[in-house]
């Protein structure tokens, strides 16, 4: 089974994103809406005002909602997208069978029906899931949305050659015919063994193995309907046929796009989407530093990536109470950590690994990611606090100022037979300044007890496939430490832990995120979890896995990530939902 969640931070090609620039301020090139300032004053907020409740609630429709993206979409095609923010945004023009509730805080973790009338109805063995579509659903061109379109859409996701970016859950879990390669290459193949559509409103998914959490998979963009007649393969992303409240007006791949109301979307069939703005505009490849200034000035409303402010703007925003009041410090379900490889000598000795963990300057690690607000909370274990099953514990106390316990570290170094320290390498992704900072910080911290690190930057595109994720490379090149990070696709202990602690995901050919965890007990516990349908009962198990991994000292946790989001001027109905871990784009509106 391969569940490969990845919300890994969006690669922004950070190497060369410089260029700064000005907020529209005095006389910029941007469109400055005349009364922007007054409106901002009208809805004066405070820090974290949109974290647990709706800020500036509104039901008033109209206006243009402006997004900016410092990079570009992986794809707009529902079959081919895997960025966290795209899954948030895609709900504006696509409707899956079910969806995360658009609501502030933990409430947003609930799955609610979308195209379907209700959540999926599982068979007793959890191997068959049935959904019934609502009546009166239409595409933007007025043609009806049928169960067959959903079936077709899911079958597309199987074609990994045409759509390499999207998640593979459906392809892996449904009972597809042997050698099925998607609707283009296996034209006309009968796929009823995987999906059946007894009528236009009913769709039945058939799994290879039982899975009690199928609704989580059904909320993914893969179940958003695609009319077969309008499908143009790799070019479909140029004009995705909308099933949601907005449809594409103009789309220039790599530059930006605009969306207008979909006249054939009927609010009566859609209880989840307030659809407040009349129009949505998205600019791509916006200079990251410029973007923050424009957000502060109200020139644009939302940084669509949800990555938070840049390093440069951070100082400005946090030191000015007025600016700080316009931000929200969203908690992510993401852990930034460093793998400690027991396959590299002398880290095969647990005491040497413990020495590394004790010698780590946690405050320095936090600092490397930007400190408390933009970096996150100092992590003492794997599971982030918002993931069910989280328990707070600390096996390697780092002293009152969190800069490490050098005495303990030396103690363990002596135990492991390296009293004067040792030399090893630390890998990181060259394009990520924060990982570079982390590597440098660890080099400093471990240097205090004689552990000498050499920095090894690798291109992020090949990081897991060729370097840090390839076991033989790790051994040959003595990559004792490798900077890493992980976020889950949906709020669930399994989704978060399995990919980074299950030793069976490690492949000799490389490519897995788990670089260092090979603990038989943990593998057993993971298997145990699969047969337990009750999520409540699983919670202690997740904590147990977390502790077991930490005991082995094969993962050096860094920070549980947070993002400092700028609440764009003039936004209404703003809230961060736990499922999106950024502003929930379905709810947003703008003042007029």
């Amino acid at each position: 089974m391969k569940r490969k969640p990845t919300l890994a931070a969006v690669a922004l090609g950070a190497v060369i994103t410089l260029g700064l620039s000005a907020c529209g301020g005095g006389g910029g090139g941007g469109t400055t809406s005349g009364g922007g300032d007054n409106q901002g004053a009208a809805a004066k907020g405070e820090f974290n005002a949109a974290l647990t409740k709706v800020f500036n609630p509104s039901t008033k429709k109209g206006g243009t909602l402006k997004f900016a993206n410092p990079g570009e979409w992986d794809s707009l095609d529902p079959a081919d997208t895997y960025y966290a923010y795209t899954w948030n945004f895609i709900r504006l023009y696509g409707r899956a069978l079910v969806m995360f509730k658009s609501a502030p805080g933990p409430d947003g973790n609930t799955v609610v029906p979308d195209l379907a009338e209700s959540l999926g109805k599982p068979s007793k063995d959890f191997k068959t899931w049935t959904y019934t579509l609502r009546k009166g659903l239409k595409y933007e061109d007025g043609s009806p949305i049928t169960a067959k379109d959903v079936k077709y859409a899911v079958s597309r996701t199987v074609d990994r050659e045409t759509f390499p970016n999207g998640p593979t859950y459906m392809g892996d879990m449904l009972n597809w015919p042997k050698d099925y390669k998607g609707p283009y290459k296996s034209k006309g193949a009968n796929i009823d063994s995987a999906i059946e559509t007894p009528d236009d409103h009913t769709i039945v998914f058939k799994l290879k193995q039982p899975y009690s959490g199928f609704d989580y998979l059904a909320q993914m963009p893969g179940t958003m309907p695609v009319p077969e007649g309008k499908d143009t393969g790799t070019k479909y992303q140029e004009h995705v046929i909308s099933s949601g409240p907005y449809m594409f007006e103009k789309n220039e791949i790599g530059k930006g796009f605009s969306m207008v109301r979909n006249p054939n979307w009927d609010a009566a069939t859609d209880p989840n989407r307030p659809a407040l703005p009349d129009r949505i505009e998205v600019q791509l490849k916006v200079n990251a530093d410029d973007m923050d200034n424009r957000l502060l000035s109200g020139d644009i409303h939302v940084d669509v990536t949800g990555n938070g402010v840049s390093s440069a703007a951070q100082g400005r925003v946090l030191s000015d109470p007025n600016l700080k009041a316009g931000t929200d410090n969203a908690v992510m379900q993401r852990l930034w950590y460093t793998s400690v490889s027991p396959t590299v000598k002398p880290l095969d000795n647990i005491d040497c690994r413990k020495a590394v963990l004790y010698a780590t300057d946690r405050a320095g690690y936090q600092s490397a990611y930007g400190g408390e607000f933009t970096g996150g909370e100092i992590a003492t274990g794997l599971l982030p606090p918002t993931v069910p099953g989280f328990e707070r514990f600390d096996l390697y106390p780092a002293g009152p100022d969190n800069t490490g316990d050098l005495n303990k570290a030396k103690e363990h170094l002596t135990k492991c037979g390296q009293p004067n320290g040792f030399e090893t390498n630390i890998a990181y992704r060259a394009e990520r300044p924060k990982e570079k900072q982390t590597a440098e910080a660890l080099q400093q911290a471990l240097g205090r007890v004689g552990i000498k690190l050499t920095l090894k930057p690798y291109p992020q595109g090949d990081y897991f496939s060729l370097y840090a994720g390839k076991p033989s490379y790790v051994v040959e090149n003595k990559l004792g430490l490798s900077v890493n990070g992980w976020g889950s696709d949906y709020p669930d202990g399994y989704g978060f832990l399995q990919q980074i602690v299950d030793s069976r995901v490690i492949r000799p050919g490389g490519g897995s995120s788990n670089v260092s965890v090979r603990i038989p007990d943990v593998d057993k516990m993971i298997d145990q979890s699969l047969t337990e349908p009750d999520a409540e009962k699983l919670k202690p198990l997740w904590a147990q896995i977390d502790k077991r991994v930490m005991e082995e000292a094969v993962i050096l946790p860094g920070v549980w990530a947070k993002a400092l989001l700028i609440r764009g001027k003039g936004l209404t109905n703003v809230y961060v939902s736990d499922s999106q871990q950024m502003y929930d784009y379905v709810g947003l509106g703008v003042q007029q």
């Binding site: 190497v15 006389g27 390499p164 490849k285």
Partner: protein, 339 residues
């Protein structure tokens, strides 16, 4: 004349071949020599979640399993005859010159290049106008007033100009004049308005990059022009012109400048050709989405078809610019015969 152009065209094609081969080698041969497998190389184009099978499929789709020379041959074939591209439900023809499809976005490269060209072109043209006028003007005045306060001041500034990295001047200019402060009078980076849409905004948004880029080049051109003028004004024919009783102004403009500018035309051709192929550092500093930024982003993402496209296009620009310069040279200098 015709044979001359034919010979130049053959040379140009040869050069394009060499340029493309070297680019290809850098991206395919070097990693192969360093031990990467076709699947390994393909895996960077299929996202992190891809299984080995996906990587294999991608390697097959991208043709990585073929020997490098075959891949190169296919690429060249695409440029000459066009290529076919499987977009899923059907097959699309990419007409010649087909520069291929991005490994990552799977968009054809050629329209991208066409899309980026106006940005770089606007940047280059505007800056070139400024630097030629300012640089040559200052160079001439400096040469004529050699040793004067103006000369010394101008040459000091020019020397400083050629000694400043553009990513430093760009940064400082943005921080000083653009980023949200009281002096924020200029457009922020990353804004580009097509001239066809709004010529005033077009110019306004480009002023800072123009000036920064032009400063660097103007400094160099002022130095070149000054040296050229000094050389020329020492020529015998200048003395002859004076001996005829010509006014000094005419001596300088009609006799001096014409001789001094011809070598500058050559250098300008090369500079301009390289620049419209992508002003890498300026575009990066100001986040202008031109060819240079396109190239750098493509390199960062290992998106070979894009890199190939830009380098080839740049080489074409340089070659064309050189050809124009040579033709111009023949017009300006009757001693040069095109044969």
């Amino acid at each position: 004349m015709v044979t001359y152009i034919i010979r130049r065209l053959i040379a140009a094609i040869l050069m394009l071949l060499i340029v493309s081969m070297v680019t290809f080698a850098i991206f395919f041969l070097v990693p192969r020599l360093a031990g990467a497998t076709p699947e390994g190389m393909a895996s960077r184009y299929v996202g992190r979640t891809a299984s080995e099978e996906t990587a294999k499929l991608a390697a097959e789709r991208l043709g990585f399993n073929d020997p490098v020379i075959v891949q190169y041959g296919n690429y060249v074939k695409g440029i000459v005859f066009g290529a076919e591209y499987d977009y899923g439900p059907g097959v699309e023809t990419c007409p010649a010159p087909c520069l291929g499809y991005s490994f990552i976005t799977r968009q054809p490269v050629w329209p991208d290049l066409l899309d980026r060209m106006p940005v770089t072109f606007s940047l280059a043209v505007g800056a070139a106008v400024i630097w030629v006028l300012v640089g040559v003007g200052i160079g001439v005045v400096s040469a004529l007033k050699r040793g004067s306060l103006f000369d010394r001041a101008a040459m000091t500034v020019a020397l400083a100009g050629v000694s400043l990295p553009i990513f430093f001047t760009g940064l400082i200019s943005l921080v000083a004049l653009s980023y949200g402060n009281p002096f924020s009078i200029f457009a922020q980076g990353g804004h580009y308005t097509p001239i066809t849409e709004n010529p005033i905004m077009w110019a306004y948004n480009l002023i800072l990059p123009w000036v920064t880029l032009a400063f660097l080049f103007a400094a160099g051109y002022a130095r070149l022009t000054r040296a050229g003028m000094l050389d020329t004004m020492n020529e015998d024919y200048i003395r002859t012109a004076r001996a005829k009783g010509l006014a000094e102004r005419v001596v300088v403009t009609k006799h001096g400048l014409r001789g001094a500018l011809t070598p500058i035309i050559t250098i300008f051709g090369l500079d301009f050709g390289l620049l419209i192929g992508g002003a890498v550092l300026t575009e990066s500093t100001y986040s202008l989405q031109g060819l240079g930024k396109y190239a750098v982003d493509a390199i960062t993402n290992n998106d070979l078809p894009k890199v190939m496209g830009v380098t080839l296009l740049t080489a074409v620009f340089v070659i064309v610019a050189n050809l124009i310069v040579d033709l111009l040279y023949a017009v300006v200098d009757p001693r040069v015969r095109l044969s």
